[in-house]
């Protein structure tokens, strides 16, 4: 159930599912997301799920807040509808030129490089949402001892393929972008493909991701 629905400006609904971040709340958000998308409510232009919120944007020329709110309140939610989730392995190279913030993490977490990598690799991470930049997955949860804040000053350019860490989350920079997450490695895999219009994202909400460490030469030869 949605805890409360309020307006975000004059052309979006802000559906609040709670304050915490966990799989259970996020699964509800995703179920609502799928149900809203399926219902084809007139005037809805975008539906954006996140950890515990769902934002429904609409075209103010054809509808308004009151009408969409009513539609959402009476919407049939298909709780049975099981989403088919994938498990995806992401190869990551952590050589020095890629692990830009490993020293910062060593200090912040009081762990050495080997311990950090051991706690990071070969674990299952859940995809809560995608976005910020096209296709970027927000994955969790990191080991309790792996949680660091964002950089004090964000980078102007984070390289494409970078793997970032912040708080209980980890992400993948699908293309070069500004960003403030702690970078520990880089994947040669293309995670977003705008030319595949039906399925541009390799990773979607609900999917499971496992990071696998690769060597520099495996990274270089990845596309051969």
């Amino acid at each position: 159930m949605i805890n409360k629905i309020i307006n975000l400006g004059d052309s979006a609904l802000y559906c609040d599912f709670g304050q915490e971040v966990n799989k259970e709340i996020n699964s509800k958000v995703i179920k609502y997301f799928n149900s809203v998308r399926k219902s084809n409510i007139e005037g809805v232009t975008n539906v954006t799920p996140s950890y515990n919120k769902l934002i429904i944007s609409f075209n103010l020329s054809i509808t308004n807040f009151k009408k969409i709110k009513k539609e959402i309140e009476i919407l049939n939610i298909d709780y049975e509808n099981k989403i088919i989730n994938k498990e995806i392995q992401i190869p990551v190279c952590c050589e020095n030129s890629f692990s830009l913030d490993i020293e910062r993490l060593e200090k912040k977490l009081n762990l050495n490089r080997e311990q950090i990598l051991e706690k990071f690799f070969n674990k299952k991470y859940f995809c809560y949402m995608t976005g910020f930049i096209a296709g970027m997955p927000f994955l969790g949860d990191l080991d309790e001892n792996m949680r660091a804040n964002r950089l004090e000053t964000p980078r102007v350019k984070v390289p494409k393929g970078s793997i970032g860490l912040t708080e209980q989350f980890t992400n993948i920079y699908t293309f070069e972008s500004p960003g403030g997450w702690n970078i520990i490695g880089n994947t040669p895999l293309n995670v977003f493909d705008s030319f595949n219009e039906n399925e541009p994202n390799l990773i979607n909400p609900g999917d499971t991701v496992i990071f696998k460490e690769i060597t520099s030469s495996e990274y270089k030869n990845y596309h051969d």
Binding site: L8, G9, T48, Y51, L54, T130, F175
Partner: protein
């Protein structure tokens, strides 16, 4: 037909193809994009007898200098734009909101958007460009849209697939009005800010920073103090959202914005003021006034009726 094309002698500072943009992709991280100033985009297309959602060239500050080769074609420029049309070496100053017949060898030199940011050039015909998710709109940050997601470069050509038959001169009397006063609906984290911060937000003026672009408008002014938390759990954004990062300087999300953000939202710009907001130049001052949801809805309807009325005069 047809081998008609424009050659870009000079591309201009930030010239892109834009249409209405793309919907239903926020959840994968792709924003609307589309023409920043929707009203001027629509008027430009109507003046050359195009479909209202046809691609146009959007330019910022300094526009392109183009040379035409081909069959007679009509063009129109909208916004607050200084431009010249050069025929047989003779320069004539052009007027916005008026269509012109262009012949082979003619040049259009778009010099400046004066005291605004965005202007539009509509070409009466179908431009040969690629679409992604049913839109040609270029998002240079995500490399999405026509022209491989890049802004246009000098020496490039704009090829036409067909030309509208349109010999009549079309024009309207319209002045691109300027505002400094932007109406804002309270945001979902309004109560995160101190009384003093809220007072600053609605009573003091903010200066538009040079770091503004199609993604966002950064503002500088009296610090807006956060007394709850300077971060929230990341959640969806829409265009017009005003986020306040820890440094207390607001950022307004514009058409190419990131789809998810983790800074508290103090307000959202009313849709009625969006077209005029995006035209406010760096260095100018803006002031926010609070508006209630129902008033914002009514004013938007009136704004749309006004736009329809302008279009029907063409």
């Amino acid at each position: 037909m047809i081998n008609s094309y424009f050659e870009l002698i000079r591309s201009g500072i930030n010239t892109t193809y834009q249409d209405k943009g793309r919907e239903n992709l926020y959840h994968i991280g792709v924003p609307y994009s589309g023409a920043m100033d929707n009203r001027n985009f629509l008027i430009a297309n109507k003046l050359v007898n195009n479909n209202l959602n046809a691609p146009v060239l959007e330019f910022a500050y300094q526009g392109p200098h183009l040379k035409y080769k081909g069959d007679k074609i009509s063009i129109a420029i909208t916004g607050d734009v200084m431009f010249k049309i050069i025929k047989n070496g003779l320069e004539n100053t052009g007027n916005c909101y008026e269509s012109y017949q262009i012949e082979s060898g003619d040049e259009i030199d778009i010099i400046s958007t004066n005291k605004s940011i965005y202007g539009y050039l509509a070409i009466g015909g179908k431009i040969d460009i690629k679409y992604q998710w049913k839109s040609c709109s270029i998002n240079t940050k995500a490399k999405i849209g026509s022209n491989n997601g890049n802004k246009l470069e000098s020496n490039q050509t704009i090829k036409l697939l067909n030309i509208n038959s349109n010999k009549d001169k079309k024009k309207i009397d319209y002045i691109n009005s300027k505002v400094e006063n932007i109406r804002v609906i309270k945001g979902t984290n309004f109560n995160y800010f101190s009384d003093e911060g809220i007072k600053n937000f609605f009573e003091k003026k903010f200066m538009v920073s040079k770091l503004s672009d199609r993604m966002g408008m950064r503002l500088q002014g009296n610090k807006i103090d956060n007394i709850v938390n300077t971060n929230i759990k990341s959640e969806g954004l829409i265009k017009g959202v005003i986020q306040v990062p820890p440094d207390g300087n607001p950022i307004i999300m514009l058409s190419d914005h990131g789809t998810i953000g983790g800074y508290p939202k103090i307000g959202v710009v009313a849709s009625v003021d969006y077209d005029r907001l995006v035209q406010i130049t760096p260095g100018s001052k803006i002031k926010f006034t609070e508006i209630q949801l129902t008033d914002a809805e009514t004013l938007f309807k009136l704004y749309e009726m006004d736009t329809d009325n302008l279009l029907s005069q063409i």
